[in-house]
Symmetry: C2
């Protein structure tokens, strides 16, 4: 007997029929002799519908009230899923985030989990019940209802798995697992059978939507055995764990891209101590996440900086830079959109020099201009014009040996080349 956390996203419970299919899937797991705790998201478009309703009333609804509103989406899901399981003759009991013991910081809309008190969940499991927990939500110490932000149900699942010492945390989604890149762009994208936490973390951070980065971080930190698989079939999915078995010749595991990128450049900044800290400190104070930062060579005591932010933060970032002009004298600020950040990720890079050089080579042979570069131990990111996205990802996918015939990988590990 093992203890499973099974997480189902909104599209898996989008209507009554899907809800019933998920219920049967959960009961199957129990029939195999396991204890099951389930985390579920809001049904289908519920969250968006709720946001639309709020927008009809206000352009700037208070974040606290938005959390109050949006958490109802998951509460509806847990109740209905529990009802569906009870209808199959099994005992199921649903818990909101606060009932399941999720305590968070008080930053509404993006609250971080501070600790979990899963006593009620544990007790219900011990009594033989299937436990259904609302994803994406918790409560502050003051009893305020909070949400973790989009994708937060993954985090709920992983955090719950860690808190109740589950043997497996299965993330059910509408694809078969983690792919070498977006199958909508590269038809021959490979489903990966294994991937390391670090690689998954990079992929998730770099735009692969299949898992939320915070969830991967949490899984790595707590060594939760994570499986990404489809709720529509019984294929084996992708296992995310500490060290993926290194396959021969596999240097790059996956290619991610992110179109949500704006570049901002500050030209002619007086090169005095503390300037960088002032610029990026001010942006941080305004809750603007800065991604790639590039400083070009100092000339005549002046330097140029470029950095990227999310598209939606561009206007605010420009305002922040305007506001600190008195403290940080610069010549001008420019900005650019219609960009995409393409990243190759692979734990194998550490032992294979020249991976980045190969990437630059592939891109330049397509006559595509690389605007910014950023590297870490296991990834290389290049910012290019968004119009070149498909062309570049396809070429990289081929260059790093990721292409394969799709059907080969449907059956699970034994079919893997």
């Amino acid at each position: 007997m093992a203890l499973y956390v099974m997480k189902f996203g909104g599209s898996s419970v989008g209507d009554t029929e899907r809800m019933q299919r998920v219920a049967r899937r959960i009961v199957e797991k129990q029939d195999e002799g396991h204890q099951v705790a389930v985390v579920v998201s809001a049904m289908g478009d519920t969250t968006d519908d709720l946001i639309d309703q709020a927008k009809l009333l206000s352009n700037e609804p208070p974040a606290r009230e938005m959390d109050m509103l949006m958490t109802t989406g998951e509460q509806i899901s847990i109740a209905l899923l529990s009802i569906a399981i009870n209808a199959l003759g099994r005992k199921a009991v649903s818990f909101t985030g606060w009932q399941a013991g999720f305590r968070t910081e008080s930053e509404f809309g993006r609250a971080r989990i501070t600790d979990i008190h899963p006593e009620r969940v544990k007790r219900a499991l011990e009594e033989g019940s299937i436990v259904i927990v609302a994803g994406f939500q918790g409560m502050t110490e003051e009893g305020e209802i909070t949400t973790f932000g989009r994708g937060g149900s993954d985090t709920t699942a992983v955090a719950l798995a860690a808190a109740i010492a589950a043997d497996y945390c299965e993330i059910y989604t509408d694809v078969d697992g983690v792919y070498s890149t977006d199958p909508r762009i590269v038809k021959n994208a490979r489903k990966l059978n294994e991937i390391s936490y670090d690689e998954m973390l990079e992929l998730a951070n770099l735009g692969a939507a299949v898992l939320h980065p915070r969830a991967v971080e949490y899984a790595k930190h707590n060594q939760v055995r994570l499986v990404v698989r489809s709720s529509f079939n019984h294929n084996e999915g992708t296992v995310v764990k500490e060290e993926a078995s290194m396959e021969q010749g596999v240097v790059v595991s996956g290619i991610a891209y992110d179109k949500n990128v704006a570049r901002i450049s500050i030209v002619g900044v007086s090169h005095v101590p503390g300037v960088l800290a002032k610029v990026f400190g001010s942006l941080a104070d305004s809750k603007i996440d800065v991604d790639i930062i590039v400083q070009s060579g100092v000339q005549g005591g002046k330097a140029d900086f470029s950095f990227t932010v999310a598209l939606s933060d561009r206007e605010r970032a420009l305002k922040v830079l305007e506001s600190i002009r008195g403290d940080v004298p610069y010549e001008e600020v420019t900005s650019e959109e219609d960009l995409v950040k393409i990243s190759i990720v692979g734990a194998g890079m550490v032992s294979h020099p020249g991976v980045a050089a190969q990437m630059f080579d592939v891109i330049s042979k397509l006559d595509v201009n690389i605007k910014m570069v950023s590297t870490s131990e296991i990834k290389v990111s290049c910012v290019i014009d968004s119009g070149k996205l498909t062309e570049v990802v396809k070429a990289l996918h081929t260059a790093y040996g990721l292409d394969t015939e799709n059907q080969v990988f449907v059956g699970g590990p034994k079919d893997r080349r």
Copy 2:
């Protein structure tokens, strides 16, 4: 400055436009210099829609999960109403039932309030916020989410008013106040300007849907000044208080009716001590509410009983009687539907003998058969065939001098005859 509790029902917040109208109405009250706590129900058909969704999944959804499901309706309302008020530039903060401190027994679907800890509500009011509380819901000591049953938002409003010592509890609805009888049946029904708790309690118990009986009971017990008024206009509504000013010649204040009635008769029960206790004790154990009970004369050591239950309880009641046949020997059980209980209510009855006799006289002159009778100090109820409802109510309304020209009462007290 006074402290108001304003309660808005589901039809008052049925869509965005109505929600905004309610928000303006609340802000008006604050503009008059008052502190305002608001109780709101689920929007329009939300609760029914949620029940429909559950029914698609199960014929017998667990009551606990139904409460989990249904409480989302009010949670959506409080969040949206708070957002609408904030959009008008006022500080508003929403609280679920448990956040507002409502503690209940654990009978899901019909939980009773045990106590209220309104500290958070009080603090928010002191900070100048408009407080929005979800109606109809609370939490048990074990942290389980419960509902009060239909109409429970009235109870929330009155209980909150008592707990925070509000000066007024205004129940906003889609009619102008409490009427002498159902205006859909009697065109000339009078809007009452005042009514006593006891009369209102009888009317509510006897089928007048405008207020929930439990709410009236709570108001009487805690001496909460209750006002029933329209959310669609500024007419003065009906004040419910300890002693309504007795008007000359007004013996009967209102006429209520209830079609949700089944009659069950037990014929030839052996007349031994403890039989009544056994019968009605068993029904009570099965949570079946018995209303009117009539025992006919004992003959040869045997008696006949008749009693009424809600239509939906009829089948179960018959089963209970079958199950106790061993302990309580009887000859046969019969039952009857398509009945209506018509009741006249008036505090003036106490000092005016002959009111019941007049009722029987009016009904018999219409050639309508009275099947059961029940009286209290301030009401008389008769059970008749439901087909005669309109005819009988109209005749009684005229006989007790309740008819009047509708328009006379629109303007409030000064227009009252």
